[in-house]
């Protein structure tokens, strides 16, 4: 950050800090503490995220999106200010409890979860003579309530793992949605000479299919990969995905639309479920196009062989029966 940008940032932070003090004069947060927190986040999120020089417009946008009062409260709580803790408790505890109860569903004790979260938020660990409060990790980039949901969610996951010590988080993740895929894409073992020949043929077309799928995936932009993965791998509903972008002011919405503008006929249209579906369909059109071109072009397969590739790969998902049909043919 150059000197001018730094001066601009410092002045803007002072202004924000003054407003926070007016809203909560008893929290005892020092301007230096507040400023250091914001500068740390700018360094981590804006400067480290891109090699381009940081502009004052980007800093302004960043500061406009800062949840300043939430950050102010979090910093006060991190410092152990009792008034701040009381306000925090009044504003968020009942919400946290309901959220924990919803998450726990008999698998974890919601009171214990909230108790652990409170202890973590206050901090019992001392590092270099200072108490380490979880509040210190909150940057004000999202709402405090959204941040709390994440903390509680992880706490519930941790409690679940503690009760199922043989299950790692990754294994849990796989159990939730992705674990079956590995098996689904596996090739059934062949037995005997005849089946061995079939397997060679199968492997040829399977390899061609995987290579073409890989090529098609590479052609996608990050936001397309993310949308497709959220929908098909993580099984999010369109409504849930659309929440990411439904707000007119959502930067992600602008980000996706900016990248989709060449394919989006009406960029000003309201973004809702059907819009997300349309984005997905357009991405799939591109994937299918690249997939076909790769099989027919780079790999030189004819249309019958392309059909076989699709049939074999699809059969991998359904089970081994197709291989028996192939052998019979």
């Amino acid at each position: 950050m150059d000197a001018a940008a730094k001066a601009f940032t410092e002045a803007a932070i002072t202004e924000i800090f003054s407003r926070c003090c007016e809203n909560a004069p008893n929290y005892g947060v020092l301007e230096e503490t507040f400023s250091n927190s914001v500068f740390r986040t700018i360094e981590k999120r804006l400067e480290a995220g891109s090699e381009q020089p940081l502009t004052t417009a980007e800093i302004r946008e960043f500061l406009d999106n800062l949840q300043a009062d939430d950050l102010f409260l979090a910093l006060a709580c991190a410092a152990g200010n009792e008034r701040a803790w009381w306000e925090f408790d009044q504003a968020h505890r009942s919400y946290m409890e309901r959220f924990a109860r919803h998450l726990a569903r008999g698998d974890a004790d919601p009171d214990e979860v909230i108790g652990n979260v409170y202890i973590e938020l206050y901090g019992t660990r001392v590092v270099d003579g200072e108490r380490y409060s979880k509040f210190g990790t909150y940057s004000g980039r999202g709402s405090l309530r959204g941040w709390l949901r994440t903390i509680i969610w992880h706490s519930v996951v941790d409690q679940h793992r503690a009760g199922h010590s043989e299950v790692s988080l990754d294994e849990m993740t796989e159990t939730i949605g992705e674990g079956a895929a590995h098996a689904a894409f596996a090739i059934p073992q062949a037995e005997g000479d005849t089946q061995m020949i079939e397997q060679v043929a199968r492997e040829k077309y399977r390899s061609a299919t995987v290579a073409a799928l890989s090529e098609a995936f590479s052609a996608l932009e990050s936001h397309e990969k993310l949308l497709i993965a959220l929908y098909h791998v993580d099984n999010l509903k369109l409504r849930e995905i659309s929440r990411l972008v439904e707000n007119e002011d959502s930067p992600l919405r602008g980000w996706i639309k900016r990248r989709s503008v060449s394919r989006e006929k009406d960029p000003s249209a309201r973004i809702h479920e059907s819009t997300v579906m349309r984005w997905l369909e357009k991405s799939y059109e591109r994937i299918l196009d690249v997939f076909k071109k790769d099989l027919a072009g780079r790999q030189g397969l004819n249309s019958d062989e392309v059909e076989i590739c699709i049939a074999l790969a699809s059969a991998d998902l359904a089970g081994p029966d197709i291989y028996r049909d192939l052998a019979a043919g």
Partner: protein, 142 residues
């Protein structure tokens, strides 16, 4: 190619399976750090700037671990978005919960909850006095 043109759904399933397989493979060989809770929460909240989004979306596209957390939180966000939170609900809490809360605060501050909750028991006069004190330019913040 006619066959392919009519297999959109099957192809989508196929591609989804490919993505799951790829995600698992990447997870097995993952060497990069995962997104922290603050970043995931901010992403789900939708408040990040364009400049902040590029590396995060790129990471989420490839990291099944972080995407699973993000997806779970997006679901929960949708479930809780419209649920209004009663203000000052704590004032009607049961004695049993108040005791539990007192216990937490005892752990946190090494004292009972009374000192902490004294703020909530102020009468109107006390609030007025506090407001006057807040307006006093000589007064410290704490």
């Amino acid at each position: 190619m006619q066959y392919i043109d009519n297999i959109d759904t099957r192809f989508q399933d196929l591609f989804a399976a490919f993505l799951r397989d790829r995600t698992n493979s990447l997870a097995a060989s993952a060497s990069t750090a995962h997104l922290d809770e603050d970043t995931i929460a901010a992403f789900v909240d939708g408040g990040l700037t364009l400049r902040e989004l590029d590396p995060i979306v790129g990471h989420l596209a490839d990291c099944g671990h972080c995407r699973t957390s993000t997806a779970a939180l997006l679901r929960l966000e949708a479930e809780f978005a419209d649920a209004a939170v009663p203000v000052r609900e704590a004032q009607t809490e049961s004695a049993g919960f108040a005791e539990a809360l007192s216990s937490w605060f005892s752990k946190l501050f090494g004292s009972s909850a009374e000192g902490v909750f004294a703020h909530g028991e102020k009468g109107e006069k006390a609030v007025e006095d506090e407001k006057k004190a807040d307006d006093d330019p000589q007064k410290d913040d704490i």
